[in-house]
Symmetry: C2
Subunit: 212 residues, 2 copies
């Protein structure tokens, strides 16, 4: 497996690698050892040539006439994506959505761990924790990151608070941001923001519905 | 504005149209009348040529040297996307995430309306409603759709129940599905499923973080 850090890999390829990973994980749990590119492709809703092309960016995988060894490919894709280690996350805004994300089982299963939550609500702060996760006022962010390494911030605050929270996150040098507040955030160039805008996804769904 | 129903429009173009729409909406609320393609582009984090190229799929917009009339372009993009009318939604699975989606303000603002919720929990069903929205057992789906037109189903059930719920949705002929359960669903060809897999989005974020 080569580290394809110098080639520009299409983002859709990276997204499909995640899908392949989840498929491989399920197959592994079912006790399977080997999978053909056509079966893997079918389970992920893509064409077999697509699977081979996506993987070819990163080296040579699988054996002609046999397929891929599930455990090996799983490990390799985890390395490619950089998720062969635990990623620590802090969550900002413990409303309905924030609470849902705090208890999102799939995160833990995939080595994504929320280690601190932040909210401004005095009632919530009184308890000190939520679902076993320590809860702080955002004013205490610097203090928290002195003790714990935080790689990723999840923003699930109301729109009105999102930029203010992001400014603190930038000060704290947390460079990865998963943003659920339906607003475009201003961050320095070397920060990575992934927006999850539910309404835009619905727009896309509606467009496809009207087309079909 | 032409209806570009016969040309294959790239999905990213459609996604950017949603982003333009949100920008235009904010500008309109701020009382602005006209916007240049460079300002619109900057606010959406894309290049001006991209804005012009995306819109060119659908006809001629804007006036050279002036820009776009905000209200007109807003109305036109809504028509293009098919969101110039109310879309009725049913939500399945009123856990933490489902509750967050039921109360998601941005949906209402954009003409997306949850008109019925479904859950199997007897405790929740006792109340009969949640946040003013009628709550039913999924067994009653056929009865509900006889009274109300439902265009879109939102799946926020646990993984173990998702396919079962989708089978009912397919029976009820609800062709648009927004799926939050981290599993790939089986539906007939003429159904449209948009998956929102939080973990895959995090994978993508982590990959970009490692690159940068």
């Amino acid at each position: 497996m080569k580290k394809a850090r110098n080639i520009k890999i299409p983002e859709v390829t990276i997204q499909r690698l995640s899908a392949y990973l989840r498929c491989l994980s399920r197959m592994y749990e079912e006790g399977k050892k080997v999978v053909s590119s056509s079966t893997l492709a079918k389970n992920c809703g893509v064409k077999p040539a697509q699977v081979r092309k996506d993987l070819a960016y990163f080296g040579k995988f699988g054996i002609r006439g046999v397929g891929y060894y599930i455990e090996d490919l799983y490990t390799d894709i985890k390395k490619i994506l950089g998720i062969d280690r635990v990623w620590n996350m802090a969550l900002f805004g413990v409303g309905n959505l924030g609470t849902a994300l705090l208890f999102y089982k799939d995160f833990l299963k995939q080595n994504y761990r929320v280690i601190a939550a932040f909210d401004v609500d005095p009632e919530k702060l009184k308890a000190g924790t939520i679902g076993g996760i320590p809860l702080f006022h955002p004013d205490r962010l610097m203090e928290v990151i002195r003790k714990e390494r935080i790689d990723i911030a999840i923003i699930s605050t109301p729109v009105s608070q999102a930029q203010d929270v992001v400014d603190r996150i930038v000060q704290a040098n947390i460079r990865g941001i998963l943003n659920f507040a339906p607003i475009r955030l201003n961050v320095p160039d070397n920060y990575i923001v992934k927006n999850v805008f539910f309404t835009n996804i619905l727009d896309n769904l509606v467009y496809l519905l009207c087309l079909s």
